[in-house]
Structures are given as C-alpha cells and as structure tokens.
C-alpha cells in the first residue's frame, strides 16, 4: 500500500571512505544474521541428509553391518513393481487430497475473502485454523471414531435410514483424513490470494454482460491462479510425505512411501539402504514440487508459505 506521503530525500551523502565500510558491513551483516540459523540447518538438515545419501549408496545395508562397497543397488531395487506400486499409491493419495482440498477450500476461501462481512473475516479464519492446534494424531483417532463400522457416522446414517459405509481401513478414509488435515493450509493461502482480487474487474465483466459463471472462470480464477498453484502444491508436498493418516486410517492396503521408509528403519523389515534410497527419492520429489512452487506460486503469498 503506497500512501502518498512526501518521501524524504536520501538523508546521508556518504564519503567514498565510509562507503567502503558500508559495503563491507553489507556483506558481513547478513552473514552474522544468518549464521545461527545456517549452523542449525547445516547441523540438523544438511549433515543428516548427506548421511542418508551415503547410506542410500550402500546396497542392502542392514543395521549392525559395516559399510562395504558403494553402488546404486538400492536405487535399482526401488524399480521392483511392488515398490513402484507403493510410490504410485503415495502420489495418487497426494493428488487426490490436493484435488479434494481445492474443491472444498476454494468456496470457503472465496466466501471468507469476498462475501463475508469484513469484520468477521479474522474470526472466520481463526475458526478455520483452530483444528490445527490439536495433534494430528488426535485428529486421526477422531476420524477412526467417526468412520468405524459401529461409529458416529454409521449411527447417523442408520438413524436416517441410509445404508452404512465401510470406509475405515480403505482409501476413502485416507482421503478424508488427509483432506481434513490439510484443508486449513489451502484455505489460508487461497484467502490471501482472493483477498487481493480486484473486484472492479468483476463489476466490469458484469457490465459487459458476462454471466457470473463466465466472470468467475474468466476473471476470478485467472487472477487467483498463483494462489491455487501455491496452495495445491503445498498440500501435495505435505500429503506426499504424510505418515500418520495412512498408518492409522488406511488399513492393510495403504502402504505409502513414508510408511515403507519407516518400516525399513524401525519396522519389521530392516533395510537401511533401501530406506535411505526411498528417503532420497522422496526428498527429490518434494524438492521438485517446491521448485515448481517457487516458480509458479503466488509471489505475494510467499510470506505465508
């Protein structure tokens, strides 16, 4: 928001000597400011990732074995049909969740940002963010209570004479749980995007005879496309690596990459090499999505992401 206050002219006219110092300070200051966080990231993100990379290059290493010989065996193992199937399942869960979140989140964000009275907007947003303040584990268990065959939902369905559902321990439960988990993120981001919507363009579209539907597709959606991309990718990234929901709600046929990695380290089948290779693959996949996010995402909503 540029206000039209008169801008004061540059206050200091520096001598060449102090400009050298200033330039030096300009170089050093950010380094000092970034050092603590940089050290933190290096210690807890870069080094562990490099260790995983190293392990991933030792074929079939199991705990307690010495590292001997490097190779790409673990990565080749991933190409077994069974693992490809798991990766495919992870991706389809993530895509499905993203689509559901967009379909559910857009109307809500539109309503809060455009239709709801201004003074209610903050409150409405808080209400939407509020569920995130409980543990995601707790939320998954809540969904078990709702979806189980003798649960809340089936009691309601029976009360109104509808046949019961058997979604628990199947894909529908995973989609429900993940969409519920990630909906607030996408609403926040879409809200930030829709809030900046230039309503004069909608008025102009109406004046020029566009029915609301056309105006929505021709004006609103293109203007919020960066927000849609940012929100969609954020949901995609988080759901791609989600562990809790598939583990608790998905049942016997919901193995995802994250669960498979867990099993290689702390589960029944201990194969650190394969687990590390899968981790690296997941990191690469997520990095790719983040790169897309940076390229196509809503730059003005970046502060949110």
């Amino acid at each position: 928001m540029s206000t039209s206050t008169p801008v004061t002219p540059a206050t200091e006219r520096s001598s060449p000597d102090s400009s050298m110092q200033q330039r030096l300070a300009k170089l050093v200051q950010p380094l000092i400011l970034l050092a603590p966080a940089g050290f933190w990231l290096f210690l807890l993100l870069v080094i562990p990732t490099l260790l995983i990379l190293q392990l991933s290059l030792v074929p079939g290493i199991r705990p307690g074995q010495p590292i001997q010989g490097f190779g790409l065996g673990n990565y080749l193992e991933i190409f077994q049909p069974i693992y490809l199937r798991v990766i495919g399942r992870s991706i389809s869960y993530a895509i499905g969740t993203t689509v559901i979140c967009l379909l559910l989140g857009f109307p809500v964000a539109y309503w809060i940002a455009v239709l709801a009275p201004k003074r209610w907007r903050n409150l409405l947003l808080i209400c939407f963010v509020l569920p995130l303040w409980t543990s995601s584990l707790l939320r998954a268990y809540a969904w078990i209570t709702i979806l189980r065959p003798t649960g809340v939902l089936n009691s309601l369905l029976a009360a109104i004479g509808l046949p019961g559902q058997t979604w628990l321990n199947r894909d529908p439960a995973v989609f429900i749980g993940m969409s519920y988990s990630f909906l607030p993120y996408i609403v926040l981001i879409l809200y930030a995007s829709l809030e900046k919507l230039d309503k004069r363009l909608l008025e102009a579209a109406a004046d020029l005879g566009a029915p609301p539907q056309t105006a929505f597709w021709q004006v609103t959606v293109p203007q919020t496309l960066p927000g849609i991309a940012a929100g969609g990718l954020l949901v995609f990234i988080t759901s791609l690596g989600d562990f809790v929901v598939p583990e608790l709600l998905g049942g016997a046929s919901s193995m995802t990459t994250a669960r498979l990695i867990y099993n290689q380290f702390l589960g029944a089948t201990r194969n650190w090499g394969l687990g590390s290779a899968l981790s690296i693959l997941l990191i690469l996949g997520v990095s790719l999505a983040i790169a897309l996010l940076i390229k196509y995402g809503d730059r003005n909503a970046d502060g949110l992401v």
């Binding site: 928001m1 206000t3 039209s4 705990p63 307690g64 069974i82 693992y83 199937r85 798991v86 907007r121 903050n122 947003l125 808080i126 963010v129 995130l132 303040w133 543990s135 995601s136 584990l137 189980r148 065959p149 003798t150 649960g151 058997t166 628990l168 321990n169 199947r170 607030p184 993120y185 926040l188 809200y191 930030a192 809030e195 562990f243 809790v244 583990e247 608790l248 049942g251 016997a252 046929s253 193995m255 498979l260 867990y262 099993n263 380290f265 702390l266 589960g267 029944a268 089948t269 201990r270 194969n271 502060g303 949110l304």
Partner: protein, 391 residues
Amino acid sequence: MPPNLRLSRLSSSTFLSSRRRFLQLSSAALSGVVLSNCAGNLAEVGGTESSPTSGSAVGNATGTTGDKSTLYVYSWTNYTDPELLRDFQSKTGIQVVVDNYDSNETMLAKMQAGGGSQYSVIFPSDYMVTQMVELGMLTELDQSRLRGLATLKPQWQNPSYDPNNAHSVPATWGTTGFVFDPTRLPGEMRGWDYLFDNQAQLTRQITLINDVREVMGSVLRFLGYSFNSENASELEAAYKKLVELKPAIANFLTNGWEDQIASGDLSVSMAYSTDALSLMAEAPNLKYIVPESGSSLWTDTIVIPKTAPHPDAAYEWINYFLNPENNANLVSRLKFATPNQAAFDLLPSELKEDPNLFPPEEVLAKCERIAPVSEKITEAFDSYWTQLTSA
C-alpha cells in the same frame, strides 16, 4: 488530496496491514504447531514408544538420561501397569519410566540404531535373545545377584534360546491365537481354515499381528510346516495363502484392535494370549483360541543391554519380577502366564485352571517355539512381508 479522504485511506491501509500481520502470525504459529506435531507423531507412532520424558513415569520424573534414580524400561505394552511402577518405587526407591514396542524387530532396530541407550531393562522374546546374544548386545548376568532363579519351572531352567539363562531371565510366556466374539461367527471357529473358508463374509473383519515371524509362522504351521522353516518354497506357499486372505485383513496390528473387537467393528483378531486375556477380563463375551494347527509358544524375558546406564537398578527390577508374591500379583492383574513355579503356586485356582492362561499339555504339544533362522531366510521372510503389506 482532501484530508478526510486521506484519513480513510490511511485507516483502510492499517486495517489491511493488520490483517496481513494476522495472516503472517497465524501462519507462523501454524507452522510451529505442525512441526511440533511432526515430532510428536514420530515419537508416538514409532512403534508406540514415547519419548522418555513423556513416558508413563511415576512421580515427577526428571527425565534425564542416565539419571541414577530413574530406570528406563523398554517393554511390550502389557507387562507393566501404574501399580507395578508405584510398588516398585516404594520398595526400591527407584523411579521407572516405561516405553513400549510392539514387535521384537522394532525393538532390535531401535537398539541397533542407537536410539535405546537410556534403557536398562528390555523384554525380548526367546528367539530375539539368541539373536541379541549373537550380536553381542546383552550383558552376561551375574547370577549371584539374582534371587529366585531356582523357583523357575524346570523347562525354563536351561532354555534352548539362552542356555543356563546366562543373559536373560524368563519373565512371561504364552501363546498366539485368535480372539473373537463367537456370536458373530456362524459355525465353529477353530483356526486358520475357518478364516480361509469364510473369508467372503469376513471382508476387512480380521486383524493380524504386525509381526512377520508370528504371522508367516502360524500359516506355515497351518500348512503343516514348521514355524522355523528354512525351505523357500514352503515360505512362498505361506505367503500365497496370506495373499489369498488379504481382502479379509483390515489391518496388521499388534495392539490397537482391542477396542474395535470389543465394539464389534472387527470379527477376529490375531493376538498374543496376554493381550487377549486382559481384554476378555473386561469383555467376557469374547473368546480366545489357539489355532487347531498350533501356535507359537513364546517366552518373553528380561535382559540388561550392554549399553544399560543403570544396571544395578536393572537387577532390582529382575529380582522384583522373580519374587513369587510380586509375580503372582502381576499375573492376576496383567494375565500373562508365569514360568515361576513359586508364583504359580500362589495363584488362585481359577487362574491356575484357566486353559487360556495355562493351556493344557495337548495344546502345548501342537505349539512351537520361534527360533532364529539363517540370514538368507530372514531376508526371504522380510521380503514376503514387505510384499504382503505393500500390495
């Protein structure tokens, strides 16, 4: 620009900027919550263990690793209860923090990864004791410090998995079977063949234990082979049988099925006898059987890992378990079978004669102990298990 207009623009801009600040703040708070959730989830879901500080501590545990007054115990879920921890503390002055695991392999993985260095007491099963001894992970016990080894039943005096109990003290034993509500199952449920014959009616109604050796072994046994088969084609046959059953399998759960079977969400759960009998104390409509083809016969032991920070307290813990009165109380409360003859003698007769808790000889004769298998066969077991759980 007229002043009043300017004023209104200013106020609208502060309004907007304050909302933007709210957005930034809330998203910052949000990411904090998300991060802490992630950490919590890892701790919670990771084999249902929790971090030592959040474990079920008695009193106000200080939670620092290696604290001389705190004993960290790594155990199966049903071997401790708050009363045990209270009683142990009042008798020895040692605070106990318990973390749980749900399979031997999970426990081994965590210990091997170095994530279990705070534990002074672990409860591995028989075959896992052998494996951990081979890996050099267990302290050789100083038997002069143990009181009551002589009261163990003869078959546990010199067990094959750990000759002379050199590294382990047998603590509990039991079988692995099925728990179910008989009124929900037409016909007579006697074991695996019932599940295979009626699987069309049992779609997503069964849970199996999340343990490769128990599940594969039990099916191997059903097919007439050994739990410890080293024959690749026999393993494959068992795997194929399980694939056939897959549509009926709701989930692979060692624990967590209790609620669902009691409320009728599930029809059959494969379970350790301890867990099944504990549940049946609350839900008497349920029934427990050992499959007709036989089950595994397991002994869970108490060991002290070489990394134990507090071995003295660990000896206290073992002696507490070996004490007949303590042991008999635990059996009454936690429903595990005890290898301790002196404790058995103290039990009320309805427990002594409970065929689920102490199965008769003819049932035990059909059962088999799980033993370590060669590295190659272990990999085959693991590979089939991955295939089964990933498909």
